[in-house]
Symmetry: C2
Subunit: 551 residues, 2 copies
């Protein structure tokens, strides 16, 4: 209860925010807010992790870290404890006996304390995320630290809200019986966890995408086995270390949170999720394994965030400067390695209306390509925006894309000023026709942008919808000055199950999804079956047992 | 909006009831409350259905009613329109275009009007339920009519609550940017349905078990295809007729609710649920098909209520009279054909403490058997309590049970005073040892009661838990005067995922589950994966699409 009281104000504000959806954040996104000592201390803490075993006092048979690598070319050399699936499941099941029976307040208090500790280590986490994912430092700091913590807190707030919807303690139920005495019974509702939770992490945003499921499960009484992507282990290992320390201090079994490390050659995810003790699985990553989970794991709840083809539909605009400024950033940040990055930009072949004047397709296309070229002209700036490439097969994909249409802007290899071994590539911008479906109607992960010439905006919307329904989509961005087109776009977005933004021309980018306000992924198309975070993401993670006592 | 306003007070009270869980009901359970004309008018309306086609203006290729029969031996002779799966899915998908885009208030208003119309026809529904399920009249009236309507309203209240958790209309999101202008964006949230809903009805409580899923789907914008059990079609056909009439009057496509009739020889459920347009399936019935649904339908949400082995654990009591009076009713009503009926009565072989005196096992067992015998001694009264047997293989099962232990009370064939062709059987009460697991550790649906001699209450609880975890369980009833035993029983119930009642000795029976207060099935053991009705039962039936417009 002590931890709950310590953090109760934060919790109350988070609960208010998920209802009013107004801007709110619990953890400052500005690195400056963490004090003068924090940057150096965080970097030092990160450096001290390298080249040695990451110690966790959990069941283990040995150590491994073989799959982890840094896109910046830094030699990480961290090894992690490795355990068998049986060891992990047994330890988690044993931990559930106490964690699952703790009160809502005890569990939520522990969750909030973990978040608070993680906040203190935001700089260390930023370096860990940067060096394992290839994000630039500021993105790694914000998305890996405070923004991820906000999304975690959001999940805790939903869990708290869901678990406290029923009367606490005992209540009297009284049914009138006409002239006879009423029927009386004392009732209470007890919450129990669903089972062992497994979180399967992604290589690009391990904490931002991993925390919501982890904390939703944890707050509702389930132990969590965290299996990071074998190429990006350190950030979630730091989380596990922090969580275990807080659990132990609070008198719980630290095995309530466990790390499960595997390698690309010897993956354990399938064996892990197929264990009958598993009650829910959270997954972020490629569609192949996500689809496999959805189709094969029938004994557990499956929450997936997979891939998609995101679209920009340009219909008309009051001016193009803001459009290009905004798009050039959202299309390039982290080299298109965000699941929210647009891939396809649909423009009518006849051009678009800009403040009453018709601007041709080629002017729009070349304007966009030029804006991107200009933004990334300087190597330092390019490095700060693009980060480096995590995925190994991106060079080949850039080549394929370039060969599939007219190259409006060629991809350029950039030498990173600080990390000469980093793979930094500017995006290729390719013009294709609406008919060239084979090229753009699938996800081309990474720095690849298609500008697609369509008959008109109606066809643009139809194609965006078709690709969303077939391959999934997480974001749409529509530029239009026409109210009717806006209505049609909203209708298409509802049908396609995609969130849609209009006319972003300032400092807010379509890639960004704000905790407590924006839902990430709708669950209504193949990009994922779950939404971060809505009540459905949390409600099934616990079950209610009714107790009735004759009064 | 007119219908919403008409029923808004009922909705508000239902929303309050699902939070405070106090006794409340919207539809009177006393037949007398419906006026002097209602009984005769209802029976007449029912009789007018017999021996002729049930007309529904929906897509059809022909008619059928081949599988429907009355356990009372009445010749029903009703035929229903039959359609192909393709016709049904197409019609439902088309209807979703308007229904799915209606406002929350419009949809909820229509749902509440349907319930109001059904209430008016409660006597007709009572006869339809009685004659198709074999329930006695009063149970058919209450469970088929007002209690089912209460459970429907409960689902609508949850749906309304879930759909109105986000700000209605547009709101401004404002993120401070230090000295710069804040980031501004106008946001709104749009609800869209998940897809076509399929409800697969049960033969025993078609409306009580069917309405929650039907109304949860309907209120959240999904069209519903209702596939009744082929042996019990008429009650849900009457629902479909009523729903279609209200939908049409309110300006919606009546194909928003469709009837899908099949026969035992030519079942269509598998083909129906496998259609990719299907977004969710609600099922009540045997575990075989329920397990198949859970394991094979991975493209839709699956909500199941299956079978289980319910337990009574007798540890101690202040007196046994009330225990036997209560148990004799709950063990016999509707011949044990309720999914909540206890099957196994665990009693320590050494006997139990009754107000300080030790009462032997045989006294407890024979006392219980005697109470049942006395309750059912009169044929008229036996018929009113037992109803008649719906399931065809119950006679054989009674014989198997009798052969598996010491018969404490033999099953007796009763001639129903009104319906001489009805199959009415009093229950067999069989004493077995704790070791005779093969006999009692599985569901023996129907009028079969085991009294099981255990080493002590600890073993009783262990065996009840084991059977719940293996075969599922919906209810436990524990008699004890010992606080410690009560705590242990609650712990075991939490582990087993079963709701538990204590010391019921008056007019409240463990079989009964009150809308707005008790959750039916926990979803935490093999008796079902869903709970009627909790937020998880509703939250995933719709999805939220975010719309952001640059301000």
């Amino acid at each position: 209860m002590e931890l709950f009281e310590k953090h109760e104000d934060t919790l109350r504000r988070a609960v208010a925010a998920i209802s009013n959806r107004e801007y709110w954040s619990a953890y400052p996104e500005s690195p400056r807010a963490y004090g003068d000592e924090a940057p150096a201390a965080g970097e030092e803490a990160f450096q001290a992790r390298l080249g040695r075993p990451f110690v966790l006092d959990q069941p283990a048979t040995g150590t491994s870290g073989a799959g982890e690598s840094s896109p910046y070319g830094v030699d990480l050399g961290v090894t992690y404890p490795v355990a068998t699936v049986g060891q992990l499941i047994d330890a988690a099941t044993a931990a559930m006996q106490t964690w699952g029976k703790a009160s809502v307040e005890e569990r939520v208090g522990v969750c909030l304390e973990i978040l608070d500790r993680l906040k203190e280590d935001s700089f260390e986490m930023a370096h860990a995320v940067m060096q394992t994912t290839g994000q630039a430092f500021l993105m790694a700091f914000q998305a890996g630290g405070p923004h991820a913590l906000d999304r975690a807190l959001e999940a805790v707030a939903y869990a708290y809200q869901e678990m406290t919807r029923l009367p606490a303690g005992e209540m009297r139920w009284e049914k009138p019986q006409g002239k006879r005495d009423p029927l009386l019974i004392d009732k209470q509702w007890r919450i129990r966890p669903r089972g062992v939770a497994v979180t399967i992490g992604v290589s690009t945003f391990p904490t931002w995408n991993g925390y919501p499921g982890i904390f939703a499960s944890l707050a509702t009484g389930n132990p969590v086995i965290v299996k990071p992507h074998p190429g990006t282990i350190l950030p979630l290992a730091i989380f596990v270390e922090t969580a275990r320390a807080v659990l132990e201090e609070a008198g719980f079994d630290p095995n309530t949170v466990l790390l499960a490390v595997d390698t690309p050659d010897d993956p354990i995810a399938k064996e892990l999720v197929m264990d009958p003790a598993v009650g829910m699985v959270d997954y972020t990553g490629g569609s192949g394994f996500g689809d496999w989970l959805e189709q094969n794991v029938t004994h557990a709840l499956i929450f997936t965030e997979k891939a998609g083809v995101n679209s920009v539909i340009i219909d008309s605009a009051p001016d193009l400067k803001g459009v290009f400024r905004n798009l050039s950033v959202s299309l390039t940040m982290y080299s298109g390695q965000m699941c929210t990055t647009p891939q396809n930009v649909f423009v009518p072949a006849s051009g678009i209306d800009v403040d009453g004047e018709q601007v041709s397709f080629s002017e729009v296309a070349s304007g966009l390509a030029g804006a991107i070229e200009g933004l990334l002209a300087d190597d330092q700036r390019a490095g700060d925006i693009l980060g480096s490439i995590k995925s190994s097969d991106i060079a080949g994909r850039i080549g394929d894309a370039a060969a599939s249409g007219d190259v409006l802007l060629a991809s350029r290899e950039v030498t990173h000023p600080t990390f000469p071994d980093a793979e930094v590539r500017t995006p290729v911008v390719v013009k294709v026709e609406a008919d060239d479906r084979a090229s753009y109607m699938r996800e081309m992960f990474g720095p690849i942008i298609y500008v697609i010439a369509t008959a008109d905006t109606e066809e643009s919307l139809d194609l965006a919808k078709e690709s969303a329904l077939e391959s999934g989509a997480i974001t749409w961005l529509v530029y239009t000055t026409n109210e009717e087109v806006m209505g049609e776009a909203i209708g298409a977005a509802l049908d396609a199950g995609v969130s849609v933004a209009f006319n972003l021309a300032g400092g807010l980018y379509v890639n960004q999804s704000a905790a407590f306000s924006d839902f990430h992924v709708t669950g209504a198309n193949p990009a994922g079956n779950a939404s971060l975070t809505d009540p459905a993401f949390v409600a099934g993670r616990f079950r209610v047992i009714g107790v009735r006592v004759s009064a």
